[in-house]
């Protein structure tokens, strides 16, 4: 049987505010346990929440970036459950009146097509603390520094139909929240966490199957694996005539296993009701406009500009525009020269390959955009050959010198482009190879002639100690041999 895969995502995004959503405690990462947990965060008796304006501003910026309606009157609710990392015994969240309403994100797929994924809504809520399961004589330790960190939970429609689409969406979202500056994007610290809802239905059927939710995936790789794993698990059950149980599952990426968390949620009844310690938040036009003013160029806008301004193709423009930091690196490089296409090739080619090989992000790269740009400029003006340029890049990366010119000079990589000197070398080489010259001149087929030119290039490069401009050598050769 053939199956359609249906995927929806819920994404928790930690907002990069200085303080918590309901208290003036710092949200800085890495502090000693419970040193950033105030009386409010600890739910001390009598303490009360006061919401952070910046959390709302960031949520509105997100809403604008995904073309969403902004909730003009949003209301906080209490979601009641007991857990040691949840000090009040309820999570303050938004159920019926979220800050961000329906919107959408367009994703680009490998085959060059694009797809629209609808956002159902996004709401503001508070993060929980952390349970540390190291052994304290059989006890669990609770650190509440994270408790009260502002989150937006983004809920998509079930618009994705493969792991590829889900991961493309996740990456796009990651790039979006990072580039508009509302999230630090650091997935290893849990700044973005993905829950994946998956169901299968017979190919072409309109009826959705029973879904499961796989929780707390914090890398794209795990997400891809978890989806593959869950699709296979559901397919096996369905093809054996079984039924899928609606449940929450936990995926273990290290072992590629998942298990049900059903026992945990069975007894849950969250008893949502409007939080009586908080009033409705009213967002007016001025607030929305001030948030809009803070929005930097969005990836989609940037991609269009790259195509227009630099004449890049769709594929290169997308790769360079998705991540704001790569885009900035590219534009810095272009600023040093004129050849945008060549700069794009170097950023996406040599530079990206090197980052991948060393598992570095663009900000961790040892070279700057303008350093790379300078090198690209020297390639464009024929100062250095492309093979020489690779040597220059290597030296820049290793920090041998801080600019391309110095390296070209020091390593003698400058191409000889003085036609007088090159003509003299050609004359001397041709004089030493009379047989080959005669063969060439007797050959009637221009294709074969062209091939025979290579025979002269080796000795020419040797004569010029590798510094002759091959393009110019070629021109001179054709002219002299043809004459």
């Amino acid at each position: 049987m053939q199956w359609d895969i249906v995927i929806g995502l819920e994404i928790h995004v930690q907002l990069a505010t200085k303080t918590k959503i309901f208290s003036g405690s710092s949200t800085a990462f890495g502090a000693e346990p419970n040193t950033q947990a105030s009386a409010v965060d600890l739910a001390m008796p009598g303490t009360l929440p006061v919401p952070n304006e910046q959390a709302f501003r960031y949520a509105v910026m997100f809403g604008l970036a995904v073309n969403a309606e902004i909730g003009r009157r949003s209301v906080f609710d209490r979601k009641n459950y007991f857990y040691p990392d949840l000090p009040k015994g309820y999570q303050t969240t938004q159920l019926d009146h979220p800050i961000v309403g329906p919107g959408f994100v367009d994703i680009d797929l490998e085959d060059g097509s694009s797809k629209r994924v609808r956002i159902h809504h996004a709401h503001l809520e508070e993060d929980a603390g952390k349970s540390l399961h190291e052994d304290f004589d059989g006890m669990t330790g609770i650190d509440l520094n994270r408790a009260g960190t502002p989150l937006i939970e983004i809920v998509t429609e079930p618009d994705m139909n493969s792991a590829e689409e889900a991961v493309a969406f996740a990456k796009k979202l990651h790039s979006l929240v990072s580039s508009i500056g509302i999230c630090d994007g650091d997935m290893s610290q849990g700044s973005l966490r993905f829950d994946v809802n998956i169901s299968l239905k017979p190919k072409g059927s309109d009826e959705l199957g029973t879904r499961t939710e796989t929780k707390n995936l914090n890398s794209f790789r795990f997400m891809e694996q978890a989806i593959a794993h869950e699709v296979e698990r559901q397919m096996d059950i369905l093809e054996d005539g079984g039924r899928i149980i609606q449940e929450t599952r936990l995926y273990n990426g290290d072992r590629d296993e998942s298990r049900s968390m059903r026992s945990k949620e069975e007894a849950n009844d969250y008893r949502y009701f409007p939080c009586p310690d908080l009033l409705p938040v009213v967002i007016d036009d001025a607030f929305i406009e001030s948030a809009r003013d803070l929005l930097p160029e969005l990836p989609d806008e940037r991609k269009a500009r790259f195509k227009e301004q630099y004449g890049l193709n769709d594929y290169d423009a997308r790769l360079l525009s998705d991540d704001a930091r790569i885009a900035a690196f590219f534009e810095e490089a272009v600023g040093q020269g004129k050849d945008a296409k060549l700069a794009a090739n170097w950023v996406l080619g040599e530079f990206s390959a090197r980052l991948n090989a060393e598992d570095k992000t663009v900000v961790q790269a040892p070279i700057t955009g303008s350093q790379l740009g300078q090198l690209v400029a020297r390639i464009a003006d024929n100062t250095v050959s492309s093979s020489g340029a690779k040597k220059v890049f290597e030296a820049l990366w290793n920090g041998d010198a801080d600019n391309a010119d110095a390296i070209i000079e020091a390593q003698g990589l400058k191409q000889v482009s003085d036609t007088g000197a090159l003509e003299q070398m050609v004359d001397e080489v041709l004089a030493g190879m009379p047989d080959q010259v005669a063969q060439y001149q007797e050959e009637a087929d221009p294709k074969k002639q062209k091939k025979m030119l290579g025979g002269f290039m080796g000795p020419l490069m040797k004569a010029s100690k590798g510094q002759g401009n091959p393009k110019l050598f070629n021109e001179i050769l054709v002219r002299k041999l043809g004459g």
Partner: protein, 485 residues
């Protein structure tokens, strides 16, 4: 000295006739000698009080005194006091010493008042008789002379009894469904529940957040005004606190009442009210007519639904507000929990008393799947109808007057067997909390030797008008000066 009002004591201190240390010592001695029979205090902070009194005397000598500098008073044990046990009348918080002040506490501290200790209360402010306190019931000073142990009302019963017994001249209190007005009435003292949002709730341990309001209790209306001057005002730490100018509540106490339009809600003169009680209330209204007020009957047609709406909304909010008491970060924790669930369920079973548990269970039920619309949402809709009744009434009159309670103080144990009978104690006070309007209880006579309270209800933020009306009444009556035998 202990029979004097706050205003009088302040003048005595100013004139130098007595020092704050002497005054504080006098009240502390009275508490020591007499509180055994009332149990109105949970904690007495003798050393701290004497130290604060000494500081106050120094400030006064330096010419830096305000009205409250060096005047003794007490806090209901629901207001967090930095470094002093704050129990909320519960075993759950019997060992809880907050490292922070409630905003109300900080305000009194800044005013230079001398806190003598923390007064007894129904556990988590849930009760109308002060019998649900983990620290034992409070006995009403009235009736003791006949050998009867009567309730002081609740939940602010400790504050009311302490003032009636002249153990303190004033005390803070809170009112969620009548918890200031009912004990004030039953103990023959004057109390004010301000407009919701007038006084900060920060550091005031929550029972039902949308109903709770801190307020004042003392013998005279004038003293209530002096207290409210300290307590009222905007607090950035409480999202529901109102940013609105605070008048000097003593400035208008002497305004004449001529032309004051009084409304008598007919629903509050029902057959639930004993004829003797009704007579006292009508006599009080007659005094107001003598002072130039006009009287007409009005209607609060949905008032009869107030108790039903309240007993959904208050327990629902409480069920969530009290979830933080889980034995993890502070307060009571059961011995040797065998797992997490055992920690939670045993800590809460052992730490909470019966009435608190009942209300948590009712609130949990009302919010649970399938019941939310029928209970919680319905109650909130009825709440709007009740609020609208008050808005309509205040289009016609300036204040409403009614009894505070259906009957005077009852004997301890009389109503503990049936929660619902106890709830009906608040039949005339609860609608005010649902609407959020301010209201007072003013001593207005006696039935069988027990005090009767007159309830005066005002429009939003009209505390000054209520205090003015109460003060003028106290200029022509002396019910508030009567002493229990």
């Amino acid at each position: 000295m202990h029979n004097k009002s706050v205003a009088e004591l302040s003048r005595e201190l100013e004139s130098g006739k007595i020092s704050s240390v002497e005054l504080t010592r006098e009240f502390l001695d009275r508490i020591k000698a007499e509180d055994r029979q009332y149990n109105s205090f949970i904690t007495v902070t003798e050393d701290q009080a004497l130290a604060d009194a000494k500081t106050a005397d120094e400030q006064r000598a330096a010419g830096k005194a305000s009205v409250w500098t060096g005047v003794p008073f007490a806090h209901k044990d629901i207001f967090c006091t930095n470094g002093v046990a704050t129990t909320c009348g519960s075993k759950m918080l019997a060992n809880f010493v907050p490292p922070y002040d409630a905003t109300v506490t900080a305000n009194f501290r800044a005013a230079g008042a001398v806190c003598l200790g923390k007064t007894n209360m129904d556990e988590f402010a849930m009760g109308s008789s002060n019998e649900s306190s983990f620290f034992g019931a409070v006995t009403n000073p009235w009736g003791l002379g006949n050998g009867e142990k009567r309730v002081p009302g609740g939940s602010s019963g400790g504050s009311a009894a302490a003032i009636a017994a002249r153990l303190v001249p004033a005390a803070t209190a809170t009112d969620t469904g009548g918890s200031i007005r009912q004990p004030a009435a039953l103990c023959g003292v004057t109390g004010l529940k301000p407009t919701y949002g007038r006084v900060s709730r920060y550091g005031m341990i929550a029972f039902a957040s949308s109903l709770d309001q801190g307020g004042t209790m003392a013998r005279t209306a004038e003293d209530n005004a002096l207290m409210l001057n300290v307590m009222a005002g905007f607090d950035p730490k409480d999202s529901t606190c109102v940013d609105r100018a605070v008048p000097d509540y003593t400035a208008t106490l002497n305004e004449p009442l001529k032309g004051l339009r009084i409304g008598l809600p007919k629903e509050y003169f029902s057959d639930q009210l004993s004829p003797a009680m009704e007579q006292q209330v009508r006599n009080a209204v007659k005094e107001y007519e003598k002072l130039g007020a006009t009287v007409k009957e009005v209607s609060l047609p949905h008032a009869k639904l107030a108790i039903a709406a309240y007993y959904v909304i208050a327990p629902a909010e409480a069920s969530a507000n009290l979830s933080r008491f889980d034995g993890v970060r502070y307060g009571y924790r059961c011995d040797n929990p065998k797992d997490l669930n055992d920690l939670y369920t045993r800590t809460r079973a052992e730490g909470f008393g019966g009435e608190v548990k009942r209300r948590i269970l009712v609130g949990t039920y009302a919010l649970s799947a399938g019941y939310f619309d029928a209970y919680y949402l319905k109650a909130q809709k009825v709440r709007r109808l009740i609020q609208q009744d008050f808005v309509n009434a205040f289009n016609e009159v300036d204040v409403l007057m009614s009894p505070v309670t259906p009957s005077p103080a009852f004997v301890q144990g009389e109503k503990t067997s049936d929660p619902v009978t106890m709830y009906l104690e608040d039949v005339f006070t609860i609608a005010v909390n649902l609407a959020g309007v301010p209201a007072m209880s003013v001593p207005a006579g006696f039935v069988d030797g027990l005090p009767v309270g007159l309830q005066i209800i005002g429009n939003y933020f009209e505390e000054a008008r209520l205090l003015n009306a109460a003060h003028q009444y106290q200029q022509v009556t002396d019910w508030h000066q009567k002493l229990p035998q």
